[in-house]
Amino acid sequence: MSMQHDAIRRGSKAALAYALALLATAFFAFPIFWMFTSSLKGDEIITAYPPVWIFAPSLQNYVKLVEDLGIMTMFINSSIIVGLSTCLAMISGTLAAYALARFDIKNKQMIAFEVLSIRMLPPIVSVVPMFILARWLGVFDTYWLLIAAYALAGLPFVVWVMRVFIQDIPQSIEEAALIDGCSRVEAFWRVTLPLLMPGLAATMVIVFMFAWNEFLLASMLTSKAAKTLPVIAANTLNAKSIAWGMASAAGVVMSLPVVVLVLLMQRYLVRGLTLGAVKG
């Protein structure tokens, strides 16, 4: 009897938990839902109050984005710039973190701190010097400038976070690999790297998102050729009017790659939560 009772109590507890989880999800998902539906509405109904829930979806906002603002070019720009800078920051940052975590380097703490100090400068302070430097070097409004800027901005984060992830992997595992016949590089590649995947995935998503959404540097250091998505998304709002439909559509276009990336990385992100169970 009482066992049945317990089972019912457990069941209702679980139901409550599910209800709460649903509520929280709805709270966070609603703006996204709103953005998505708005992007499919025509100008007449987009600001209607009370909101129109049932309407014939149209892609006119997306068409306008492509035809009037040329968003395809910006999308390609953003993808190349952010993709390359993220890769660059991840590769060099992880290698630097490995050296800081594993090797006996003089003044290790100093070096790590110096790397972090890049991040301490508010970007607004560095934007004018960067502008002048870029002009002088002839890289203004090119991919290279933003790639370098974003890679550098992401680097300290990668170094500091990956250093902790690497330190968390017992050194004896790598040493075992060295003894088992690996060179340093092989040991890193075959043994350390697979264990680092969750950390790499999480770090990469964050670095990618930062660069993908970055506006200040992008708006100041590009004029036409290397313009990125956040800049164009901002162009939908001007002094006279706000093109709500286009703004929403731009928002959807900008979110898509992030969503795809997170879905791709999900396998590792979830595993990151359980990896701790291996130790001890």
Partner: protein, 354 residues
């Protein structure tokens, strides 16, 4: 052949961790490095493995100078204290890893892994991940991974310290049997003197980065060179008495009767074991002390402080003059407060350096 370590030193900054260690380990020998925590055992082993480079000195393995060679070029295997298993691989993949790196064919890999796993009794766990194993099973996996490629040299750093006492005793004999069957030259690091005594062909006792004494287990137990070794080996430890010899041939010490009983051949050793101020130590193992009638010839007067019956033997704690002693006797009838004689048979008295 075997391993030759010549005058190897290791400094970390200003700290000298290994201070000129030299030893010649024969092929197939089971050599144990024994010492307290922090004395440099692990560092010495890691230099042999190539995980650490010596500040000076040289290391030869099987006739080849490997002082600065990478670990993979030394043909060694190693078992780590925390096992060092690859957490993302299954037991099978863990054991096969060294073979895979050496590009052994898949079929040979399978055969060797299964054979080694069978020998170590982990055949049924080959499909599991390390975190699904108990400590003892993990230890076996790490041994299997080390042994699977028939190494010439096997290095072990306190491989049993994470196991419970019973399992430790089982694994002790298993390891020893396995290694001697395969005839692998082994260096085994431990701080447990019982492990050292029971497994070693030869023991090196280390202290503060020095090898204080190298010898067979019984040699070290019976004839310790220094106070430290005498105190470190054996439980309960050797009874040690401060003694001195300021005039040649006339040693004096705390328990008069014992000093007088030092036999001639030990007496001859005194001058070589004296320290700068003319001090040495006289020692006798607890199991050699005899409790006799008070006043028997050659015995000292002592009071029984405490009696610890252990079943097979009994530990009797005594005070002779100012000096506290332990005697291990058969089941005995002493009681706390008894006044007895303690007799030290001359053939068991040892002269030991401070």
């Amino acid at each position: 052949m075997g391993i030759q370590i010549k005058d190897v030193r290791k400094r970390f900054g200003a700290l000298t961790v290994v201070n000129g260690v030299s030893v010649d380990i024969a092929e197939g020998e089971f050599f144990v490095l024994l010492g307290e925590s922090g004395c440099g055992k692990t560092t010495t082993l890691r230099m042999v493995a190539g995980l650490e480079l010596p500040t000076s000195g040289s290391i030869h393995i099987n006739g080849k100078d490997v002082t600065y060679a990478e670990p993979r070029h030394r043909d060694i295997a190693m078992a780590f204290q925390d096992y060092g298993l690859y957490p993302n691989m299954t037991v099978y993949e863990n054991i096969a890893f060294p073979l895979k790196i050496r590009k052994v064919s898949k079929a040979d890999q399978r055969r060797k892994v299964e054979e080694t796993a069978g020998k170590l009794g982990i055949f049924n766990y080959l499909g599991r991940k390390p975190f699904q194993l108990s400590g003892g099973q993990r230890q076996r996996v790490s041994l299997a991974r080390a042994l699977v490629r028939n190494p010439k040299v096997f290095l072990m750093d306190e491989p049993l310290s994470n196991l419970d006492a019973k399992l430790r005793a089982v694994m002790r004999t298993e390891i020893k049997k396995l290694v001697s069957e395969l005839g692998i030259t082994t260096i085994y690091v431990t701080h447990d003197q019982i492990e050292a005594m029971s497994m070693a062909d030869r023991i090196a006792v280390m202290r503060h980065g020095d090898m204080v004494q190298v010898g067979s287990p019984l040699e070290i137990y019976d004839r310790p060179l220094t106070h430290f070794v005498a105190d470190f080996m054996g439980s309960p430890p050797m009874n040690l008495f401060p003694a001195s010899m300021t005039t040649a041939g006339r040693p004096t010490g705390e328990v008069r009767e014992f000093v007088d009983a030092i036999p001639d051949h030990e007496r001859d050793l005194i001058s070589s074991r004296l320290d700068a101020s003319g001090q040495f130590t006289l020692g006798i193992r607890p199991e050699h002390l005899k409790l006799v009638q008070l006043g028997s010839p050659g015995s000292a007067r002592a009071v029984v402080d405490f009696v610890e019956p252990l079943g097979q033997t009994t530990n009797v704690y005594l005070t002779a003059g100012e000096k506290r002693l332990i005697a291990v006797t058969d089941r005995c009838v002493s009681h706390v407060g008894d006044v007895v004689g303690v007799y030290a048979p001359p053939e068991f008295l040892r002269v030991v350096a401070n």
